[in-house]
């Protein structure tokens, strides 16, 4: 259903090549560049030789083509059905957009057809007019690189007003929240829902366009594959850069990379595997686990 040459990298690359040929500016070099941009690392060999040897009779040896128009293809039913499906998602209102011609199309799915069953329940208010206005302004600021000024209340209850450069909007599926990743100010990220107001601004001081970097840390642990812990852990941590190695018949060493600001989250996620994961490095992380366990000992549960 989805796996079709109509969507393939090769068709896309050839489409770009023929576009250049129709405009009479295709050369061997530009053809090679278009393959690199649109297809895979070994594609140039196949695509260029197939065109040059006239196996695919679309481009002549002098890089001209009998085609007369820029190659285009209408949307397939599947593409239209998917577009119709996202139009029924409440988050679509965040975007100022319209897609004509989908009235008679059945959506591929609706929000009733699936459930994100472990998503947190306090997600952002995607249908609030105030939230939508903020989202659209920040989205435009990212694309136009215009500085903005935001007002928000910090954890200690103080209202802050900051000028910054919007880098990108980061969405967490688990939290169901957007965060603004910013540069040019002392904070690196802001929960969009907690920004009380925002507007474009003209700043006198020069804002550094370099975003604050979040230190990348490493944690290593040994995993005992009991109660399917291996599969659960590998899926659970699949979104992180990681390396796994078998060190014994039923024992594995796994190393994860994570951002320093997420340390507490990683800590409790490791704890969720109980005695099947033993953190071995770094010592500071081992201490964090021990502190939690020591506090648990003081709770009188056992």
């Amino acid at each position: 259903m989805i796996f079709s040459e109509l969507y393939s990298a090769y068709y896309n690359a050839v489409s770009h090549i023929l576009d250049a040929a129709v405009k009479e500016n295709a050369t061997e070099q530009s053809v090679r560049e278009k393959v690199v941009e649109s297809a895979f690392s070994e594609s140039a060999l196949t695509i260029i030789s197939s065109l040059k040897n006239e196996k695919w009779q679309l481009l002549k040896k002098d890089f001209t083509t009998p085609l007369k128009h820029t190659p285009t293809m209408p949307l397939t039913n599947l593409q239209k059905q998917w577009l119709k499906a996202i139009l029924s998602d409440p988050r679509i209102r965040l975007f100022d957009m319209s897609i004509p011609g989908l009235d008679d199309v059945e959506p591929l799915f609706t929000p009733d057809d699936y459930k994100l069953y472990d998503k947190y329940s306090n997600g952002d208010p995607f249908e609030s007019e105030i939230y939508i206005k903020k989202f659209r302004l920040i989205l435009n600021a990212i694309k136009t690189k215009r500085p903005i000024v935001i007002v928000f209340t910090s954890r200690n209850g103080r209202q802050n007003r900051l000028s910054l450069i919007s880098e990108r909007l980061e969405y967490s599926e688990k939290d169901d929240k957007f965060r603004l990743i910013a540069a040019g100010c002392r904070f690196g990220q802001f929960n969009l829902a907690k920004i009380e107001s925002c507007d474009y601004c003209n700043v006198n001081k020069k804002l550094s366009p370099i975003p604050r970097s979040d230190e990348i840390c490493t944690v290593s642990f040994e995993l005992e594959n009991e109660r399917n812990a291996l599969e659960r852990a590998m899926l659970h941590f699949a979104h992180l850069e990681k390396q796994a190695e078998r060190i014994d018949k039923n024992k594995y060493r796994i190393t994860l990379k994570y951002y320093q600001s997420d340390e507490t989250e990683i800590l409790i996620r490791i704890l969720s595997f109980g005695p099947f994961i033993k953190v071995t490095e770094p010592e500071a992380f081992v201490q964090l686990i021990k502190e939690r366990l020591q506090s648990q000992k003081n709770c009188g549960l056992l």
Binding site: I2, F3, S4, E5, L6, Y7, S8, A9, Y11, F40, L58, L67, T72, P74, L75, L78, Q79, K80, W82, I86, I92, F95, I99, L108, T110, D113, Y114, D118, K119, S121, R168, E170, Y171, S172, E173, R232, A238, H239, L240, E241, Q243, E245, R246, K257, Y259, I268, S272, F273, G274, P275, K278, K290, L293, S295, Q296, N298, C299, G300, L301, L302
Partner: protein
């Protein structure tokens, strides 16, 4: 012997390798397909060709391990989508494709298969030294295929069938939405296909806690959505949870359950053989065939809506008399309101109550206590009381905590 190509005819062939390289990555060459080391070499080379930037190698005593290492937070678009853009085709397929849409370059142009054939031969293929030869049946087959895809429209006028291209769709105002939903909506790879049709640009979005493991199951997911939407049963092959043997199943799909905390996707479906509602992992399903409409579909959905109220994860049981009670209490200091917020936002079908100034109690009646255990463990350091109706699981939970103390040299039981 056929020569190697980085394109493939059947995605199923690569699906398991992609998963092994991305999710696990600790197997050596010998552990993959013992029957065919050539197959392993070809699939590894293909994946390296598509995703070379993410391919890592490590040498171990068992041999060289190959794996994919991706920090999905650092990527604006899911790199695994590339695998869905590697479908093979014939020389004739690609040649006909571009010529057809060049002839039918606007929706107003309508031609019969014969007229198209003449134009293909005279105005396009004749420009080459050794023109390809297409017969009209090949062209008709391609036109029929494209009519089914919705990109070509056929129209009968008298005895003749005329073909034209479908209307184009303007995506210019939808680029931001495509950048977002291609990562945040089910079957996002279709959004990626749409993004291939717009100008190159830098996406304004990135994604945290972004699980891309389900990418390899996109086709299965799309088929299941079609079945759910048309209230039809399906036939499929399912890998058994315990014996790992492929089994033919006949089920009525009801809903897709997706985890945003581990990326697993499950189909909740009514088994026509056992007459029970079960969950099936999408990565274990293949060879989906959509069958006929199931006439009691709406009744099944009503039954499932009742079961959903007691599902913590994906396990459900048709017999609601088998509900299990799960209850635990945590200690929360005055300055730890974020713990109460955590309990509230993560409680799912459970209830949270304040029992005194410093304690909060969570309780729920669920089908499967073991599904709640990992979440309860995240509160280790403040759990003061447990009360599970399944005493064996409660004791196991406590023993696990004892084992954790021992693991980190903190033996000796609780100190209170």
């Amino acid at each position: 012997m056929s020569s190697y190509s980085e394109l493939i005819k059947n995605y199923e062939k690569i699906r398991a390798y992609m998963r092994e390289f991305y999710v696990y990555g600790f197997k050596s060459r010998d552990e993959y397909d013992k029957k065919s080391s050539r197959s392993y070499d070809d699939e590894r080379r293909r994946i390296e060709s598509w995703l070379g930037n993410y391919m890592r190698f490590v040498r171990t005593p068992d041999g060289k391990n190959v794996f994919l290492s991706i920090d999905s937070r650092a990527e604006k678009h899911n790199p695994l989508y590339k695998s869905w853009k590697a479908k093979s085709f014939t020389d004739g397929d690609i040649t006909l494709h571009f010529i057809l849409f060049d002839i039918l370059h606007t929706p107003g142009i309508k031609k019969t298969a014969g007229e198209l054939m003449t134009e293909i031969d005279n105005n396009y293929l004749s420009a080459f030294e050794k023109p390809m030869m297409f017969d009209e049946s090949t062209l008709r087959k391609k036109l029929k295929e494209y009519c089914n895809e919705g990109i070509i429209i056929s129209e009968k006028q008298g005895k003749n069938v005329y073909y034209s291209r479908a209307e184009s769709t303007d995506l210019s105002s939808a680029v931001d939405a495509l950048d977002y939903f291609s990562e945040a909506a089910p079957c996002g790879v279709i959004g990626s296909f749409l993004l291939d049709k717009v100008e190159n640009h830098d996406s304004p979005f990135s994604f945290k806690h972004h699980y891309i493991t389900g990418t390899m199951d996109s086709d299965v997911l799309a088929m299941l959505f079609c079945a759910i939407h048309s209230k039809r049963k399906i036939f499929a092959v399912n890998i058994g949870k315990h014996n790992r043997a492929p089994q033919n199943i006949e089920v009525v799909p009801l809903k897709i359950y997706i985890s945003v905390q581990n990326g697993r996707q499950n189909l909740i479906a009514f088994s026509l053989k056992s007459k029970h509602i079960y969950s099936y992992r999408l990565d274990y399903l293949s060879d989906i065939v959509i069958g006929e409409v199931y006439d009691k579909y709406d009744d099944l959905q009503k039954t499932f809506a009742q079961l959903e109220k007691h599902m913590w994860g994906v396990n459900c049981n048709f017999n609601t008399r088998k509900l299990e009670h799960v209850e635990f209490t945590v200690f929360v200091r005055d300055d730890e309101q974020y713990i109460v917020e955590r309990l509230e936002r993560e409680k799912r079908c459970g209830t949270v109550e304040k029992t005194d100034e410093t304690h909060y109690r969570f309780y729920a009646d669920v089908f499967d206590t073991s599904e709640v255990i990992p979440w309860i463990r995240t509160f280790i350091c403040r759990i003061t009381k447990l009360n599970f109706s399944d005493r064996l699981i409660e004791e196991q939970f406590k023993n696990d905590i004892r084992d954790m103390y021992a693991l980190y040299g903190l033996d000796g039981g609780d100190e209170k």
